[in-house]
């Protein structure tokens, strides 16, 4: 019986031989080795008797004390053994003898005794280099490649030959060998065995997949002995070989990164699978299996078996990145909530503000996360690694080696759990003070000498590539980066200033120093930061990080050395608004992954936006094992989730639980269970406005046209293919609700100003000439510029406009020219909306427009009614004369936004230097809309009733903001404007200006900019530009000029005002035009339907048919929504 022979040879000792034999026969009976020994003893060492004994009374020999935790798939080795030698094979041999008992004792018992190994080792020591590590023996059945006898005898040493070398020598086998060889590229290499240089056998395919592959990869080396060879060989007959397996030095190196990512990924996977399988064959058991939260029932070994190719193949498919339902997102956070039991920690002295209780809790939690494993003596193994003992006791084999079963990495160095980067995700809801919490951590948890003694673990992964914590494998080859005690904060550009100001405002000078590393301010050097006097905090932006990261070449490239971010081993890195890296493929994400730091934090109010993948990026950044490994993540989270296996959510929950701190404003705390933050109330009013009849006409015309067009699309069934057009029509309707001018296309004064710019400038100059001249000769100064003989008239114009500066309703104070000059030349009345023509004649706007209209009706060109000078551009040649506002005396002219396009800005700025302030200015004609009028009414009301209240005005349309500027200027409001066109500096200036005069906040920050003394009470903000992170708590009134498709976006913008630090009740007014597209948008909002959700949720449908149906359904619903909108 061949098996008996094999086992006998392998064990070398008679009793062990019998025991092994018995265990093979009784495989699958779940008997422990102890039970087997007992059985054998009862049968006086006779295997056959023992088997009979067992089957007579199985229960008597079962050993329930040892639990069976694993049901491994059949091993190919045993299958092959049994298939040809044992008809009564029990394929789960390994399960019975090895896996049934996770303890090392089992391995000791079943494995070849150390003595045997020693013998084998000494036999082969000549052939193995000193750094080869013997890991065990495997007995295999090889297939004969020769016929006849005399090629080999039992006990011959054999050598392994990789397939290609001597293939030609065996002519008869060549076709077959060729076929297999062709397959080898895919199925794995063929390894042959030779005796005295003559190839006589090859591995069967299953063995080749494992051992051959590893030989090919250079991970192992094989020495062998012939155990049993029949006297006369037949083709493909069995030859029993004993193989001694050695791990080569290469096994402990990082896998080559020269290949492209895909190949490398595959290589890593192949290597992992083969290694794990070989370990199984060798019966090597970890001393303490890797423990991974949530996966104890699902060890990755289950996937290793070649018999599960389908599952393995499934891993290759990029999983559908299914979206999460909102309620699912909330479920994910469930376990991350409820921190009532976390103690509070007092921050280190130096803060100028008292932290709130829950903020102190955050500090305690974050400190704990950073310090948890800081005990250097703690000899606990990294949770992902398994420790193995080398079988054998030679000095070079003494000790252990370590395997990461999830990546297949091997190392001889102890992978300490302490090497894990420390940190987590601070995910408190917006407004709870994440910034302060983070800063208090930086301030309170400073690096100790001990922290600085060890470099942070380096990650060899470039971008996302698989191997985690490779430093333990190859760490010695990469020079360590200089360490710094500083914390690097990476944030969006818009928040740069806020971080800096927060530090300045919340900490006493000198307690927490910071430097900004951004664009032109990149003055910091590595030396600055490694020295004693380096700043505690360096603030930079995602853009800076990704630009320094450059083209993404492997780490340590020469280009990167020039950078600061990547040239240092930071003490701590903090990503603010960390969802900026949610897409793992972006440069933002990849570059942040590469930052070296001992402690890593992700700060974001929304760690998961809508995909589980969002979280992966954060976990990867934090280097949380094993989840930071994408293939791992994909296998256990993405794929199951895409397959509707909601266990994936549980896994994510358990990942998040220790990792995330998330509280909401409403999170109850304290004995009374009151919300942790009690903000002043927020009152949201919907203000329904009615179009003027003029606006209504325009709106209706536009609406009718759009609706007709839309109906055509509906009739043709092409609504969705014309989506862009439909969307544009909707946008125009919405614009029309703001101001018809916007919808009619000649909206922005900006473009107008460029068309007629030079004329306008000339006009302004002429006005200024007049003003400058003063007294009696202003006209003389300006006669050269084209008004010709009308100079006396111009003079009177100046006197009228400038001399008294008051042609108010009483119209009384005309100095010289009598009442006539106070009035319109056409209606003789006091000019309500004074308008000036290019020829400098003036009249009421209505009068001149009516006149020009009349001329147009008669087919005559526009001209001045007084001097008949033609107006080439008709009414566009008319300019409004704006009296300087007469508000509080200390108020300077309104400050203009960075892009102030209004033509009078030059006038005013220049005239500002004049001792006498101008009483008027000129600008392109401007007609307020209902919303603008309502806005001014609202603001004017506030100015009189609550002068200290500041207002934020939101709109989606920057053109509308421009119109707002015009009307705010007219009414003398100090304002600032925030939109996407501003540079970071400008944004800072705007925000500072808006927050200034605030008694509590900006006062402590050094503010040298006193040039603008006007009190800024209104902030015009585009909803998008103000959407992130900004703190606008100085305002307590919010006016939303328009509405957005989904309410949350709008509410998020509003929450910039209604957030921590707000002391007043916040009043929100949403201006809505009655009976318009806006009102219908509200209807849809209220039905909680999110519009414009074009990404179809694949997660909602299953299968192709279902998917198609789902799409149809989605389409239908979308068209319905659009129909609603068009009314």
């Amino acid at each position: 019986m061949p098996t008996q022979t094999v086992q006998a040879t392998r064990a070398g000792v008679a009793t062990t031989d019998a025991l092994a034999d018995l265990s093979a026969i009784l495989a699958g009976t779940q008997l422990s080795s102890a039970a087997l020994s007992a059985l054998l003893a009862a049968a006086n060492g006779d295997v056959e008797t023992a088997v009979n004994l067992y089957f007579e009374n199985p229960a008597a020999y079962s050993s329930p004390a040892i639990p069976l935790t694993d049901a491994a798939a059949p091993s190919p080795l045993l299958s092959s053994l049994s298939s040809h030698s044992m008809t009564a094979a029990r394929p789960s041999f390994s399960a019975t003898t090895d896996n049934a008992n996770g303890k090392r004792k089992a391995a000791d018992t079943v494995l070849p005794p150390l003595a045997t190994a020693k013998r084998l080792k000494s036999q082969s020591s000549s052939g193995s280099g000193p750094s080869w590590h013997y890991v065990g023996d495997i007995v295999i059945v090889a297939l004969s490649m020769v016929r006849g006898g005399g090629y080999a005898k039992d006990g011959d040493e054999i050598d392994t030959v990789q397939q290609s070398t001597n293939a030609a020598a065996i002519s008869k086998q060549k076709p077959k060998g060729g076929r297999v060889g062709a397959k080898a590229a895919k199925a794995g290499p063929i390894t042959r065995f030779s005796v005295r240089g003559k190839e006589i056998a090859k591995m069967n395919r299953d063995d080749a997949k494992i051992l051959g592959k590893l030989v090919e990869l250079g991970v192992i080396a094989i020495k062998g002995t012939v155990v049993s060879v029949p006297p006369s060989l037949t083709m493909l007959g069995d030859i029993i070989l004993q193989l001694r397996i050695y791990l080569t030095p290469a096994a402990f190196m990082t896998i080559s990164s020269s290949q492209d990512e895909e190949t490398q990924d595959q290589t890593i996977k192949d290597r992992k699978l083969a290694l794990l399988h070989m370990f199984q064959l060798l019966g090597l058991r970890p001393l303490d299996p890797a423990l991974v939260a949530g996966l104890k029932d699902d060890p990755p070994v289950a996937d290793v078996s070649p018999s599960a190719p389908a599952k393995a193949a499934g891993m290759d498919d990029e999983p559908e990145q299914a979206e999460l339902e909102d309620d699912q997102v909330e479920i994910l956070y469930e376990k991350a909530r409820g921190f009532e039991d976390v103690p509070e920690a007092e921050p280190r002295a130096g803060l100028t503000v008292e932290m709130r209780g829950y903020q102190k809790q955050a500090l305690a939690w974050m400190s704990a996360k950073e310090n948890q494993t800081s005990d250097p003596n703690a000899h606990s193994i990294h949770p992902l690694w398994e420790e193995y003992a080398f079988p054998g006791c030679e000095p070079e084999n003494a000790g252990h080696f370590y395997l990461n079963p999830y990546t297949g990495e091997l190392t001889l160095n102890f992978p300490s759990a302490a090497d894990q980067t420390r940190g987590g995700i601070l995910a408190d809801e917006m407004g709870l003070g994440k910034t302060l919490e983070t800063l208090s951590l930086i301030h309170s948890n400073r690096p100790t000498a001990e922290d600085m003694a060890r470099p942070s673990p380096r990650s060899a992964l470039s971008g996302l590539r698989g191997m985690s914590n490779t430093s333990t494998v190859s760490g010695t080859t990469v020079p360590a980066l200089p360490q710094t005690r500083a914390t690097l904060i990476v944030c969006p550009v818009s928040l740069l200033a806020q971080w800096r100001d927060e530090i300045t405002a919340r900490f006493r000078p000198g307690t927490l120093t910071c430097a900004v590393y951004y664009s032109a301010d990149r003055a910091l050097s590595v030396a600055d930061l490694t020295g004693k006097k380096g700043p505690d905090v360096v603030i930079t932006t995602y853009g800076t990080v990704s630009s320094e990261w450059g083209g993404g070449t492997g780490e340590g490239g020469p280009g990167k050395r020039a950078s600061l971010v990547f040239a240092l081993d930071w003490f701590r890195v903090v990503l603010d608004e960390a969802h900026y890296i949610k897409n793992k493929g972006t440069a933002n994400a990849k570059s942040c992954f590469t930052i070296q730091a001992k402690r890593r934090w992700a700060v974001t109010g929304t760690p998961i936006q809508n995909r589980l993948e969002d979280l992966f990026s954060l976990v990867h950044f934090l280097r949380i094992e094993p989840w930071g490994n994408y293939s791992f993540w994909r296998q256990f989270i993405s794929v199951p989730f895409a397959a509707k296996d909601h266990k994936a959510l549980n896994v994510v929950q358990s990942i998040l639980e220790p990792l995330v701190l998330r509280r909401q404003k409403s999170t109850p705390s304290g004995p009374e269970g009151r919300p942790i933050v009690e903000l002043p109330p927020k009152i949201v009013d919907k203000v329904l406005l009615d179009f003027t009849s003029e606006e209504r006409d325009i709106y209706d015309a536009l609406h009718t046209r759009s609706k007709t067009q839309f109906s055509n699309f509906v009739a043709a069934g092409s609504v969705l293919s014309n989506w862009a057009h439909v969307f544009q029509m909707l946008t125009r309707l919405r614009q029309c609700c703001l101001h018809p001018q916007l919808a009619l296309g000649k909206g922005s004064t900006k473009t107008d100003a460029t068309i007629g710019g030079s004329d306008v400038d000339a006009l302004i100059r002429r006005f200024q000439d007049g003003v400058d001249g003063g007294g009696g000769s202003p006209a003389g100064a300006s006669t050269g510029s084209g008004a010709g003989g009308e100079s006396p008239y111009i003079e009177s114009v100046f006197q009228k406009l400038n001399g008294t500066g008051d042609y108010g309703a009483d119209g009384s104070s005309a100095p010289a020219n009598g009442e006539e000059d106070q009035s319109c030349a056409l209606c003789f009345d006091v000019m309500a909306t004074p308008t000036i023509f290019p020829c400098l004649h003036i009249s009421c706007r209505d009068c001149i427009v009516a006149y020009l209209q009349k001329r147009e009706d008669m087919g005559e060109p526009a001209q001045c009614p007084i001097c008949s000078k033609p107006f080439p551009r008709g009414t566009d040649d008319l300019y409004d004369i704006i009296r300087a506002p007469q508000p509080p005396p200390q108020t300077a002219p309104p400050l203009h936004g960075a892009d102030a396009a209004d033509i009078d800005s030059a006038t005013q700025q220049q005239q500002q230097q004049q001792p006498r302030r101008p009483a008027f200015s000129v600008r392109r004609h401007f007609h307020p809309s209902t919303k603008l009028t309502a806005l001014i009414a609202e603001l004017t009301h506030l100015r009189t009733t609550a002068p200290d209240v500041k207002t934020v005005v939101f709109s989606q349309f920057t053109t509308m903001l421009t119109l707002c500027e015009t009307i705010l200027q007219e009414h003398g409001f100090g304002y600032a404007r925030l939109d996407g066109t501003l540079s970071q500096r400008e944004r800072e200036a705007v925000l500072k200006r808006f927050a200034s005069d605030s008694v509590d906040e900006a006062s402590s920050s050094k503010k040298t900019d006193t040039s603008k003394s006007s009190k800024c009470t209104v902030l015009l903000a585009s909803m998008r530009a103000a959407g992130v992170g900004l703190n606008l708590t100085r305002a307590s009134v919010v006016i939303c000029l328009d509405t957005w498709w989904n309410l949350p976006t709008e509410m998020q913008a509003i929450d910039r005002v209604h957030r921590l630090g707000q002391t007043r009740a916040v009043h929100v007014k949403r201006f809505i035009m009655r009976d318009s597209v806006e009102e219908r948008m509200l209807d849809i909002q209220e039905r909680k339907t999110v519009l414009c959700r074009w990404a179809i949720r694949d997660g909602e449908v299953t299968g192709e048919g279902g998917k198609a149906q789902g799409k149809e359904e989605e389409k239908r619903r979308r068209v319905e929504e659009l129909k609603t909108l068009f009314g």
Partner: protein
């Protein structure tokens, strides 16, 4: 319908500071309707005559010109038998910047300087061109005959 402020103002000014040789008085029952008397300018064939006109301000005034007509018969190449006046500012050259006063002054000027090249009364214009002295004589006769109320 309320009278536009402009008409009121113009009327007030016409009454308060009448232009020399021009008198315009609105009807009590229709303030848009004026009785006008223009004195014939000195050194003109119409000297010594007081010419009655009627002036009506239409609804569109001042966007549209006032309607003015001689009631007194006058021998003038630019004024026809019915008293209609050929004056550009009363037609296409009208501008809302003009007023009753300026219109009447223009008419007064027209009396001083007849323009037979742009006639309204063709026979009179012909007469004026062929024999100006004779035409002026006729004009004087008509002034004496019709304009001495």
């Amino acid at each position: 319908m309320a009278l536009p402020k402009r008409i009121i103002k113009e009327t007030e000014r016409l009454m308060a500071e009448p232009a020399p040789g021009i008198q315009a008085i609105p009807h009590d029952d229709n303030l848009r309707y004026f009785d006008v008397i223009i004195s014939g300018p000195a050194q003109s064939p119409f000297e010594g005559g007081d010419f009655k006109l009627e002036l009506f301000l239409p609804e569109e005034y001042p966007m549209a010109p006032p309607k003015v007509r001689f009631l007194t018969k006058i021998y003038h190449p630019n004024i026809d038998k019915l008293g209609r006046i050929c004056l550009d500012i009363l037609k296409d050259k009208w501008s809302p910047a003009l007023q009753i006063r300026t219109v009447l002054l223009s008419i007064q000027a027209l009396l001083s300087a007849p323009n037979p090249d742009d006639p309204l009364a063709n026979d009179v214009a012909q007469h004026w061109k062929e024999n100006e002295q004779d035409a002026i004589k006729t004009a004087r006769q008509w002034t004496a005959q019709y304009a001495h109320a």
